[in-house]
């Protein structure tokens, strides 16, 4: 509701004091705050918390990328860029995507945004009409559902199952009634489960989408953090390019979260639509960050490889520790999260997480925060130094053993 309308309904302000004129819209009122929020507030109140709740790299962006950002400022490159992002960057992004068998035209099929999150939000607003159904593979990044709602769409939760290793399958889609969905959004490698999907596993999902004429929004922000096998994009499968928008960015692989730079790849019509939302909302992505991103793509492959190696060590360490302490944990193969089950005698993730935080000052995020299929699990991020990881695992083991 606009401010004018709110005033109008108040009868010209006669009762203006009894009812605030800035009434949140129904869409906002119907969207609960992030499930992480409450837990975040709890964790923030405590000292000496070892947090495994952090979804961002503990590395710093590669120096040459930072230097490129600084140099651009020294040259005074502080103006807007083209709405879609600097052409040089779009070209680099298109070249880089060839690693995953994706081929896009830098002029019409690439858009640079303020983080992948902005790209996804703009895509919902660009591609979802009121009443459209968006199937959301869950558990997932917390912003998809609110994003669909803000765009006026209906969310159809598609819970993935531990039994399927949290992968998306035609059965899972059918069980959720996704045949009638207009769009499907998912994220692999997955936040929060760490699940990945191979090209063989994506193929039946692609067939399902083609058979039911469903568009796909594929969030691949963790593509570079795939530890076993290569990352695969559904857009590279036959007949999928024209019905898929791929999202990626620089936050995770290049540890550039604070620079807020992401991008979307897709057919020209979809990118043009996303650009229309983006150009009115954001005008263009941060210029300084775009210079950093060009440099990142040009010369930081070694740093990315080193960060991946460090994450992989930590992943194996954390998975081994869970196994040793008898806590069931899905064998995560991507991103920087593991998704253990809530150990006995607890049944509820939120209670477990709060008890653990209180007793041992270790923060793990309840899986329920990430939507259907997340209940009974916890998300633990290993984007934190090994010394802290070791200490956190020791504390967790003590906590679980004390409960026995």
């Amino acid at each position: 509701m606009s401010l004018d309308e709110a005033e109008g309904e108040d009868g010209g302000g006669e009762d203006g004091e009894s009812e605030a004129p800035l009434v949140p819209s129904q869409r906002v009122q119907n969207t609960p705050p992030s499930g992480i929020r409450r837990f975040f507030e709890l964790a923030e109140e405590m000292d000496d918390v070892i947090s495994l709740g952090v979804g961002e790299p503990d590395f710093t962006a590669p120096w040459t990328a930072r230097e490129a950002a600084i140099a651009s400022l020294e040259r005074g490159q502080t103006s807007y860029t083209a709405n879609r992002g600097m052409r040089e960057l779009r070209e680099r992004i298109a070249e880089d995507a060839e690693r995953w068998d994706l081929s896009y035209d830098a002029d019409e099929e690439v858009i640079v945004t303020a983080g992948a999150s902005e790209a996804i939000d703009a895509a919902f607003r660009a591609l979802v009409d009121p009443g459209d159904t968006v199937a959301v593979a869950q558990p997932c990044y917390v912003s998809y559902e609110p994003g669909v709602r803000f765009a006026g769409g209906e969310v159809l939760p598609v819970p993935t199952r531990a039994a399927d290793e949290f992968k998306l399958t035609p059965d899972v889609l059918r069980d959720a009634g996704a045949e009638d969905a207009d769009l499907l959004v998912y994220c692999f490698p997955n936040n929060p489960t760490g699940a990945t999907m191979s090209v063989e596993e994506l193929a039946p999902v692609a067939e399902f989408c083609k058979a039911n004429d469903i568009g796909v929004l594929s969030d691949e922000i963790y593509a570079d953090l795939t530890y076993e096998g290569d990352h695969a994009s559904i857009a590279a499968l036959p007949g999928m390019r024209e019905r898929t928008v791929v999202f990626n960015g620089f936050s995770k692989a290049y540890a550039m979260t604070g620079l807020r730079l992401g991008y979307a790849l897709g057919p020209a019509g979809a990118i043009e639509a996303i650009n229309r939302v983006h150009q009115y909302a954001m005008l263009s992505a941060p210029t300084t960050a775009q210079y950093a991103a060009i440099e990142a793509l040009e010369s930081c492959a070694d740093e990315v490889a080193e960060m991946r190696r460090q994450y992989d060590r930590r992943r194996q360490f954390v998975l081994s520790r869970f196994e040793e302490m008898g806590v069931e944990c899905f064998e995560a193969t991507g991103a920087f999260y593991v998704f253990p089950e809530v150990p006995d005698p607890w049944t509820d993730a939120e209670t477990f997480a709060e008890d653990l935080l209180e007793a041992e000052s270790v923060a793990m995020v309840p899986g329920d925060a990430f939507g259907a299929g997340g209940g009974g699990h916890l998300r633990a991020s290993y984007a934190t130094g090994l010394d802290d990881l070791k200490e956190a695992m020791d504390r967790l083991e003590r906590f679980v053993e004390d409960a026995d």
């Binding site: 992030s34 992480i36 837990f39 975040f40 964790a43 923030e44 918390v49 947090s51 709740g53 952090v54 979804g55 961002e56 503990d58 990044y141 917390v142 912003s143 936040n191 060590r313 930590r314 194996q316 360490f317 081994s320 520790r321 923060a363 995020v365 934190t384 130094g385 090994l386 802290d388 070791k390």
Partner: protein, 182 residues
């Protein structure tokens, strides 16, 4: 031997090479990682980790294990002074004496922490650790300079250390990220 078993043998060799490189890397990062932790991180079992490390030690690849110490901070808790100096040495060789002979002689002094033959404007780079500047000076003037082949010494006292053996000396390692993020 079939092609297949050739491949398998090659893979085994590659795995071993990778395991050696990975464990060396981890030991350089932190030599106090327990065998169990090294096993957890590499996917090897504990016995394999011990075997590889034993091999690396017996082959002389791993020569020892040492702590990386910020001596400036150590002084405040141990009250023991610690002076570190880098010394450039120029030498003149003759028919009878080579770099190796001079190195043998210098390396025996316990004050010498590191000794390297280097390219550039001088021949040897020597690192000395002692309890005081006067002890360093005396060591250089009384033990090093008199070596007949040494023609010149230039001593640089270390004023402050910011990074040592890959470890950045910083005030705190606090994680200032939000404690929980999406």
């Amino acid at each position: 031997m079939s092609d297949q078993s050739d491949d398998a043998a090659a893979d085994g060799g590659q795995d071993e090479t990778e395991a050696r490189a990975e464990l060396l890397d981890l030991l350089c990062e932190n030599a106090r990682y327990s065998t169990d932790d090294l096993a957890r991180m590499t996917g090897l079992d504990a016995a394999e980790v011990e075997d590889v490390i034993a091999d690396l030690e017996s082959a002389g690849v791993v020569q020892g294990y040492a702590a990386v110490v910020d001596w400036e901070r150590a002084e405040s808790v141990t009250e023991a002074e610690h002076v570190h100096a880098l010394v450039e040495l120029n030498v003149e060789l003759d028919r009878e004496t080579g770099y190796e002979d001079i190195a043998d002689r210098l390396a025996q002094f316990p004050e010498v922490q590191a000794l390297r033959l280097v390219s550039g404007n001088y021949d040897f780079a020597l690192e000395v650790e002692e309890a005081s500047m006067s002890k360093v000076s005396r060591f250089i003037s009384e033990k090093v300079a008199p070596v007949p082949e040494i023609t010149q010494t230039v001593t640089h006292y270390v004023m402050d250390t910011y990074k040592e053996a890959g470890h950045r000396f910083e005030e705190t390692g606090d994680d200032d990220r939000l404690s929980v993020t999406p």
